[in-house]
């Protein structure tokens, strides 16, 4: 990841959402982007120039635009029409961004469009976030990484964030994902946890 001093940045065309610039690069604000927060409080996954990414829950394209600055191609999935309008505008100016209007809970809707990816990133406000991630792992190459931004409050408002977090870890393990890093995104985002997993390569199933 590119850092100027302590500040996380990405190199690309600015002015997407009024982000500030630093030495010609776009400042990636951890308070606005959960992925940026992950790079501040944890390790995350190093974004590289050759990477192919499937991004679920692209919303207005704020974080997506930064990811697109780093990688080869981003398939950005968003469901709601209003944020999709903004995402299309961002995508028009970024040739390596493929906007897909579809429901992340139904990967068969966009399966004919999306190739195999190296990184699966998910940030959706749904109750069954672990199940959605597991279903979308069909797009992830064996050995590829998945990042789940767990919105604990969307899963179950009556349970504590820690309870939701533990239950989610169990579901991910059951889906055959190996959790490599977990970190809470405080102080940047409240009740949000980042979970980084690896999809086991075929024949790599450990006893």
């Amino acid at each position: 990841m590119i850092r100027i001093g302590d500040v996380l940045v990405s190199r690309g065309e600015g002015g997407v959402y009024g982000e500030r610039m630093l030495g010609g690069a776009r400042i990636w604000d951890p308070f606005r982007s959960k992925l940026a927060a992950l790079y501040y409080v944890g390790t995350g996954v190093e974004l590289t120039a050759g990477m192919r990414v499937l991004y679920l829950g692209a919303a207005n394209g704020t974080t997506v635009s930064h990811v697109a600055d780093y990688v080869e191609i981003v398939y950005a999935v968003e469901f709601a029409p209003r944020p999709m309008q903004d995402l299309l505008e961002v995508a028009r100016r970024r040739p390596n961004l493929v906007p897909i209007m579809a429901d992340a809970t139904q990967p068969e809707q966009y399966a004919p469009l999306v190739e195999e990816v190296d990184l699966l990133y998910q940030d959706v406000a749904q109750p069954d976030q672990a199940a959605i991630l597991a279903r979308n792992c069909a797009f992830l190459r064996p050995g590829g990484r998945a990042i789940l931004m767990l919105k604990t409050r969307s899963v179950d408002i009556r349970k504590t964030p820690e309870e939701v977090f533990r239950a989610t870890l169990g579901e991910l393990a059951a889906a055959g994902l190996e959790v490599v890093e977990t970190v809470w995104l405080s102080p940047y985002h409240k009740d949000h946890a980042a979970i980084v997993c690896t999809k086991r390569a075929a024949g790599d199933a450990r006893e």
Partner: protein, 287 residues
Amino acid sequence: MRSYWFGDVDENGCHPADGDTAARVQRLHTLKTTMDGFVLPGWEDAVACGVCSDRATYISTLRELCFAAAEQQIREQYAGKDTELLQMVRTLDEMDEVINLLSERVVEWHQVRHPTFSRKYRKTPAHLMVRSISQRGRGALGMVAEQVEKLAAARTELAIEVSSRAGKVMPNCSALIGGLVAARLMSHAGGLHPLSRMPASAIQVIGARTALFAHLRTKSPSPKHGIIFQHRRVHNAPKDRRGKVARALAGKLAIAARLDYFRGEAVPEFLERAQERIDRLGTGDMS
């Protein structure tokens, strides 16, 4: 056979999807994909298919398709006639707030300029005060008052438009309770579809959230009515019968909302019977 955005692939090779982008969007909607054992598309397949020459053109062609598909989907989602009505009602409610706030402020300001002026014992409504201030006030005060008046005029115009639009979008609800209130119910529910799925008991207390939660939390009585109180049969009914009328009206509204959503046209037989029942309860004839 595996179907992708660029064509169908089977053991005999690849059959590219014909036509321009629009035709491909159409085809995309007809694809029935299951995730079991699905093999993901690769740009090499598309090149073999003759759809593109390299990875760069693969991406650009795919992007063109995705843009067209998304734009069409957005247009379809917005085409639901209630989407614009929703924005209109919310604008109307927000304008009411702004106009009230500014009117009060302008009058307060006017009082400071005229220390001997008081509104006590005058039966001048705020909007008339604003009018006289806009005519006599000097400088910024006069101009602000003038703008408030213009806003109020725009609000009146908008209210008329909301009413007539509601009459078209939700004819049955509008016939029962009036276009403006029908539109407000729809706005609170978040659209015609969510409103049509609401039980009558929920429709009855739309707009009475504070009272409802107070009731659920404490032992206070449940609210009898929310915004449907604005219907004359409800607020004109004697106090001991209001709940009954509100319940009947809400029941009929729930049916009306479903008719509006699924049929989209007025159903005279239903409206006649519903109106009759509400009127009978409202006037106290319990037979």
